[in-house]
Amino acid sequence: MLMEFLPLLIILLLAVFIGVFVVVLGSTFGPKRPGQRKNSPYESGMVPYGPAKRRISVRYYLIAVLFILFDIEVVFLVPWAVVVRQIGVPGLVFMIIFVLILEVAHLYAWKKGALEWD
């Protein structure tokens, strides 16, 4: 029974090996020119310190929430697309209903002005 998991074990080992191998490779052969920027924890990210209470406009969250909502809902299209031929016309009808419901939400958000920045 455990034999079923053999490929998994191989992938696990392979992944560990490749990770370790690449890091070792880089540190062995790469050039080393340290500076202030290069010594900071994140090389190309945001500045990691500053005032903790920075104000971000609430609209940012609103749009983010809307994005996540619609994103997740739309993901349902993917499994549907896989089996669309097998489930035929009824499946199509149900998906149309689903999209229409989604569209109601879209319309609502739009009309309420949730998509405008101001």
């Binding site: 109601v104 609502y108 009309k111």
Partner: protein
């Protein structure tokens, strides 16, 4: 494959949900000062659904591969939910204008919540139970915070949401455990596995206990009741009224459906837990209500206490001989409690108009003298709450106590009786303040709210005289349960 009969079995739910969606869109073009139209449309939608519920009642259908069931029990509960919804709309119309929160979404959210409750009464699959639970809960979190300019409303909403999510987690976890114990989600399948004896009994039992916690939260049973007073106090009063009636009923619907179908075999282990829960709920609800000055909080604790009485009859859920009586008594009590509760909350709405928020006992002074009809109506509600003989509340308690005694839980019945006597104190205190303290209240009474009060009072009086009509209906709802 979807059959027409599947659609038919949940047609009322679909109507309510679909109508709510349409209303959401239509409402976008209804100007702010015309939100009465939305209210009216919402009521019409609920009425149509009610018509379909009544038309399809009496059938028994397992639809969507046994995911949902249509039976007398679900029809009875759905009538209760839909009527509650209409009453809540009538109560809210004037109130949300006055509080300057008259957005059409109020009614839409309420309809979604009702759709969830209706689905809850029909669910025959643990996933459906969970789905319905969320569908009924999430709009309520929003509704609780609907008066978003008021701090206490927001606070209540947040608390309700956090704790509700916590409780939902237990329901989901319980569902998962039951699934792992039986490999099934739908009731028929689980019951079959349990009967065959091939379920993992420990996981199954723990799963059942976790479901009990989740439902206990919804019905506000001790020790899962802590949210109730804060939420009831903070939420807009029509929402509170709606919650105290419909949500509680939905919680009991889920509890009864799940426990009576799935867990009779566990009664040996679960009954002691229910016994303690029922006793604690009755004691804590009634005793803490004694110490309240704020009417909304007082009614909240009273709501807890009444849940305790129903739980008392529910303790015997595994006893096949009395379980029919349990369900009938519970349904009867939900109706009796619902009528009374709506009436009492409607009076709170009337009085709150004047004082803005939070009414204290002192604010009731003089109402009996200056508004005798309101006073008399409140007297009727309070007597019924207290279970004074020959009121509807009395018959409700009578049936519950009878069931408990039949099942042999005499100690519990005695606790119920004693706490019920204690409850007369805080109910009658309301009447005393209304009639015996001098005061100069000035109320403006909205016709819809007074309609609710009048109809509720008349219905309580009438059904006090002929309680067996409702009991008869409730008993018929039981026959099709399992």
């Amino acid at each position: 494959m979807t059959r027409m009969i599947d659609i038919y079995s949940i047609l009322p739910v679909m109507i309510v949900a679909g109508w709510a969606l349409l209303l959401l869109v239509v409402d976008l073009w209804i100007p702010r000062h015309r939100k009465g139209i939305t209210a009216l449309l919402a009521a019409i939608g609920l009425a149509i659904a009610l018509g379909f519920v009544l038309a399809s009642s009496g059938n028994t259908i397992l639809g969507f591969n046994q995911m949902v069931v249509l039976d007398g029990f679900s029809s009875f509960m759905q009538v209760l939910f839909l009527v509650s919804g209409m009453v809540a709309v009538a109560l809210a119309y004037d109130y949300i204008q006055r509080m300057n929160i008259n957005h059409g979404e109020f009614y839409v959210l309420m309809m979604f919540s009702i759709a969830g409750m209706m689905l809850m009464s029909q669910a025959y699959n643990l996933l459906m139970v969970f789905l319905a639970l969320e569908l009924l809960s999430i709009p309520l979190y929003v509704l609780t915070g609907f008066a978003r300019t008021r701090l206490e409303s927001e606070e209540a909403s947040l608390k309700y949401f956090l704790l509700g999510a916590f409780a939902s987690g237990f329901v989901l976890y319980g569902t998962a455990l039951i699934f792992s114990a039986t490999g099934q989600l739908d009731f028929v399948g689980i019951a079959a596995v349990v009967t065959a004896g091939s379920a993992n009994s420990v996981l199954f039992l723990i799963g059942a206990a976790l479901l009990l916690v989740g439902f206990g939260f919804k019905i506000a049973a001790v020790p899962f009741q802590m949210w109730t007073p804060d939420v009831y106090q903070g939420a807009p009063t029509p929402v509170t009224a709606f919650m105290s009636v419909a949500v509680k009923a939905a919680g009991f619907a889920a509890l009864m459906r799940v426990f009576l179908v799935l867990f009779p075999s566990l009664s040996e282990h679960l009954t002691p837990i229910l016994w303690v829960m029922a006793a604690l709920t009755m004691i804590v609800g009634n005793i803490v209500a004694l110490a309240q000055n704020n009417i909304k909080r007082m009614l909240a604790y009273s709501a807890i206490a009444h849940a305790g009485y129903i739980l008392m009859a529910f303790v015997a859920f595994g006893n096949g001989e009395v379980v029919g009586n349990t369900v009938a008594a519970t349904l009867f009590y939900l109706v009796a409690y619902g009528l009374t509760s709506f009436g009492a909350w409607a009076l709170v709405i009337v009085i709150e108009r004047e004082y803005g928020k939070g009414i204290l006992l002192d604010d009731l002074a003089g109402i009996g003298k200056h508004y005798p009809w309101l006073g008399v109506a409140m007297l009727v509600f309070m007597l019924s709450f207290a279970g004074v003989p020959l009121t509807m509340g009395f018959w409700g308690k009578f049936y519950l106590f009878r069931t408990a005694v039949q099942a042999g839980y005499i100690g519990l019945a005695i606790i119920g009786l004693l706490t019920s006597v204690a409850s007369a104190y805080y109910y009658l205190r309301v009447v005393v303040y209304m009639f015996m303290k001098p005061g100069e209240p000035k109320l403006q009474i909205n016709p819809w709210v007074s309609l609710v009060i009048g109809v509720a009072a008349l219905a309580v009086l009438l059904l006090s005289l002929i309680p067996w009509t409702i009991l008869e209906l409730a008993s018929r709802a039981v026959l099709l349960l399992q």
